[in-house]
């Protein structure tokens, strides 16, 4: 899975989908995760990075990560890697 190439993400957390005109806001951790996905990092690498930086546990990360990814899938912000 990756974030669609045409999706614009600003450092403020504003996301713009130019093909649908939809826009969204994510918090700083959301921005961080999207950037890691864009950099081609796998889920386990992202987990490692987040657990290192923030006080959270494995289970909470897993639950929140899948929630977040599902929401992005729902809004057509993602695509399957070729």
């Amino acid at each position: 899975m990756n974030i669609k190439k045409n999706i614009a993400l600003s450092d403020t957390g504003f996301i713009f989908n130019p093909s649908t005109g939809e826009s969204f806001s994510v918090n700083p951790i959301g921005v961080e995760i999207i950037k890691l996905i864009r950099d081609g990092k796998e889920k386990d690498q992202i987990k490692e990075s987040i657990l290192e930086k923030y006080q959270t546990d494995d289970a909470t990360f897993e639950r929140d990560y899948y929630d977040f990814v599902n929401i992005m899938n729902h809004y057509n912000l993602t695509e399957i890697d070729e």
Binding site: A8, F16, P18, S19, T20, G21, E22, N76
Partner: protein, 348 residues
């Protein structure tokens, strides 16, 4: 560069909650780097706000309603043209287009040019003929039926599941959730716009529109798709954003190519949760949100005037995605003498 002087008459000065396209068309022409446009406003009612916008409208004349017939319209145009020497007229209402199409040749002899769809194009995309249009050009359209009498309403349940959209011949659309509501809207809309009333399958989704201009030879001079972001209770976009939707642009180019569309047009579409587009309507004129296209880099009213007078027009190939329009209302303070003047003399 010296700008080309031109006198353009424009209708649709009703910048109200369901706005006509006149004021944004004028703004586009006033901002043209090619034309130095003198604007003559044509109004139907004395309270159309554009009449009083003296910074963009140089002079306004009232013209007779289409129901008065083309003869009285022509007489009025002759009077106005003797004074103003109009080069181009841009009609902006669906309901008046037919009258202007009928007198297009006569107007040409008076020196007034227009750039309108042909009768065939106008009729083919008509709401009443949308299903045939969809089949012919391979476009998904919602199922619909034209009805002429209230007695047909209770028989609709065989073909439709509620809610349905109740639409007027030219304007107005309301969502009805049961036959009683259809009856109410039937009476309300038909008293204003006549018959038939179109009953259309309700499509759930997001509303998208495209503004486009065809040169009459099958070429698209410009096209900008827009997603409605804020919709009024009349279904009008009060805010919208220019989007980069390749499918919508391809659909627009296809329609203009196949129909050899002449003039401005607006495609109204609904995108379902399955990402399928349904064409709800094709309006044979520039829409009221045209100024978004201008802001995004395509001055389509300027291009339309160039086409009308036979000047060279280069098709627009790009626009700025993400440009938005946000409409607002503005109270003008007007002296009673201005209202008196337009009401009494029919010109101001």
């Amino acid at each position: 560069m010296n700008k080309k002087k031109i006198t353009v008459a424009v209708t649709g000065l009703n910048a109200v909650d369901n706005p006509g396209p006149g004021v944004p068309v004028i703004r586009a022409l006033k901002e043209s780097e090619y034309f130095d446009a003198r604007i003559i406003g044509f109004s139907y009612e004395s309270l159309e706000p554009g009449i009083y916008m003296h910074d963009i409208v140089d002079k306004t004349y009232q013209i007779p309603y289409p129901s008065a017939g083309t003869e009285s319209l022509l007489q009025r145009l002759e009077y106005i043209n003797d004074i103003e020497h109009i080069d181009v007229l841009i009609p902006n209402f669906d309901a008046e287009l037919y009258s202007f199409m009928k007198i297009e040749d006569t107007m040409k002899t008076m020196g007034i040019k227009m750039f309108l769809p042909t009768f065939e194009q106008f009729e083919e995309r008509h709401k009443v003929n949308l299903a045939t249009f969809g089949k012919k050009y391979d476009i998904k359209v919602p199922y619909d039926r034209a009805i002429f009498s209230t007695s047909e309403i209770f028989g609709l349940t065989g073909d439709f599941t509620y809610p349905v959209v109740v639409k007027g011949k030219y304007y107005d659309a309301s969502i009805a959730y049961n036959p009683e509501q259809v009856l109410t809207y039937f009476n309300k809309i038909s008293s204003k716009w006549g018959l038939p009333i179109i009953i259309q399958q309700f499509i759930y989704g997001s509303e998208y529109n495209v503004i486009a201009l065809g040169d009459g030879e099958g070429n698209t001079i410009g096209a900008v798709p827009m997603r409605k972001q804020f919709i009024t209770d009349k279904g009008k976009a009060w805010a919208g954003i220019a989007i980069d939707d390749k499918e919508l642009l391809k659909m627009t180019h296809d329609i203009i190519g196949k129909t050899k569309w002449r003039g401005g047009m607006e495609l109204e579409l609904m995108k379902t949760a399955d990402n399928e587009y349904y064409m709800l309507e094709i309006n044979p004129r520039i829409p009221a949100w045209v100024y978004l296209a201008v802001g995004a880099g395509q001055n389509l009213p300027e291009a339309l005037v160039k086409l009308a007078i036979g000047d060279e027009v280069k098709p627009y190939t790009e626009f700025k995605v993400g440009k938005m329009f946000i409409r607002y209302s503005w109270d003008m303070i007007v002296d009673i003498s201005e209202f008196e003047h337009i009401s009494t003399f029919g010109e101001f």
